[in-house]
Amino acid sequence: MKKFTSNKIFLRICGFVLFCLLWFVASEIIQQKTFILPGPIETFKYMFELLQKPYIYNCIGTSLLNMIIGFTYSFIVAFILGVISGNNYHFKEMLVVPMTAMKSVPTASLVYLILMFAGIIKVPIYIVMLVCIPIIYEAVVSGIENIDKVYLDALRITNVGIIKANVKIKIPLAMPYILVGISSSFALSFKIEIMAEVITGSSKLGLGSAIATSQRVDPTNMVPIFAYSLFAIILMVIIDTIISYLKKKIVRL
């Protein structure tokens, strides 16, 4: 019995059930439920209805695809820049200002800036890139800079080529830092992608577009917004779980 109640999955289920109970109580206390705080029953009912139509799958697929494309590009760019910066002080210092700017510029401003160069459809992809690049970049740089001095001294003695040194030794040693950067930016990229869709207010598919549309159709009904948000949360939990599993696998390698 003690083993069962200490089980991670059981505890997480208990937490979820408790959350739903609190949510239910809060929505019952508030008058005009659908207007302010729809309860879990109405929300899950609406989610079930959505699951029977292709629309929600198209929205989830579009948002996920935009996120993955944006994240992939940002990883490649940030990884290359990070490895160079980790090995070259001058290059790293040159990138301090652009990376700080990318981290600081308001995301809403980015939307309008990016629109000048790319169509509405590509805005979420570029937003994800611009938000994730600094995070992954810093993770890669920190990872390489925090390699034990013993290994760096050994590298100098053995006179290994710079590419081989990075690929075979530095990057694997920096992997824990890089994985932390990947997992934190991956989760953020999904939220950012949805937000970019809401700001553009585009009629194209995506969870953010679905949220914006539901507000436009009936701003007094919060049930769709809660439902779409829950879909996004569930997706992120699944993705987080996959990333944690992959992280453990890679670290073991």
Binding site: Y55, Y73, F117, G119, T200, S202, S203, T213, V217, P219
Partner: protein
């Protein structure tokens, strides 16, 4: 590491393939971008090429490298962009105002006064300017601003709201009245604007890219005019088109919002203010409207002829 690298390269190739196929399809037809609501209704017969976006996004798109062929913008914004060098011409106006004052039922005497709580949306933009043009500054001390029409709608429907009068657009007003028994239309700002200025309110207009063939543009505009006239004659035509093209409900909502509400409002004396008037033929009325925004008279060069 090798497997992860291969996965990333595959995703890159996938995204590249997706981008290529979309561009080929777009070149075959005129691309249209417009705000949701009343303007979108005018393109119910051109849904394949229609994209909805916020007005600010449309403005940026018109100035970007990825320009749409046809765009719908607030008339003042359209004129400012064209005067600023955007390669477009002002072709026609398709919405003529859909702003109303709604009484929430909280005011006992039922007459809007300085002592009441008045809620407006869009501070500094069209709704605010029209309100002040009609009423002057008489009610300034009583005004509270909210961001947009959806927040204004919540002020009418919420049982805890203290607002007495709320500026709202159709079909949000239709939704508000259906959800709050005490709410009713207090004033029609389009009528009041007409009484004061002698002209219609040329709210949202179509602009046409200079890169389109002139005959193609003329044909397109003529089709839009016919479609809008048909819509005014029989608002149910939208539903026929939706059924014929088998458009999913969610896609319809993303384009038009609540279609049933739209149809009811159009049937009720065209409360949504949709129509079609050639811009060049109504230059004088447009110039009068643009005075709201401190814009001087327009030059003939900006008009599509």
């Amino acid at each position: 590491m090798r497997k992860i690298f291969i996965l990333f390269i595959s995703l890159l190739m996938l995204s590249a393939c997706t981008n290529g196929s979309n561009q080929d399809i777009e070149k075959e037809n005129l691309s249209i971008i417009c705000p949701a609501g009343a303007p979108a209704l005018g393109f119910y017969n051109k849904l394949d090429n229609l994209q909805i976006a916020e007005a600010g996004i449309i403005k940026a798109q018109v100035l970007s490298n990825d320009k749409p062929d046809i765009a719908v913008l607030p008339t003042n914004v359209a004129v400012a962009l064209i005067n600023g060098g955007a390669e477009y011409k002002l072709a026609s106006t398709i919405t003529f105002g859909n702003f109303y004052i709604c009484s929430t039922g909280n005011d006992e005497d039922g007459i809007m006064s300085k002592e009441d709580n008045i809620v407006l949306f869009g501070e500094g933009s069209i709704p605010d300017l029209v309100f002040h043009y009609v009423y002057g500054n008489e009610f300034d001390d009583a005004i509270t601003y909210v961001n947009d029409a959806s927040v204004a709608l919540r002020e009418i429907v919420s049982s805890t709201s203290e607002a007495d009068y709320v500026l709202i657009a159709q079909p949000a007003l239709f939704t508000a009245i259906s959800k709050n028994e005490k709410a009713k239309e207090y004033a029609n700002l389009q009528e009041l604007y007409y009484e004061k200025s002698g002209c219609d309110m040329y709210q949202a207009s179509i602009i046409v890219s200079n890169n389109i063939d002139h005959d193609v543009a003329v044909r397109f505009l003529s089709e839009v005019k016919e479609d809008i006239n048909a819509l005014l004659e029989n608002p149910e035509i939208i539903k026929s088109v939706i059924e014929e093209k088998q458009i999913a409900q969610e896609d319809v909502q993303s384009l038009f919002g609540n279609v049933d509400a739209d149809i009811s409002v159009i049937k009720n004396n065209n409360g949504i203010g949709i129509g079609y008037k050639n811009a060049y033929d109504n230059k004088q009325a447009i110039d009068i409207y643009l005075e709201l925004f401190n814009l001087k008279g327009t030059n003939e060069e900006i008009y599509f002829q």
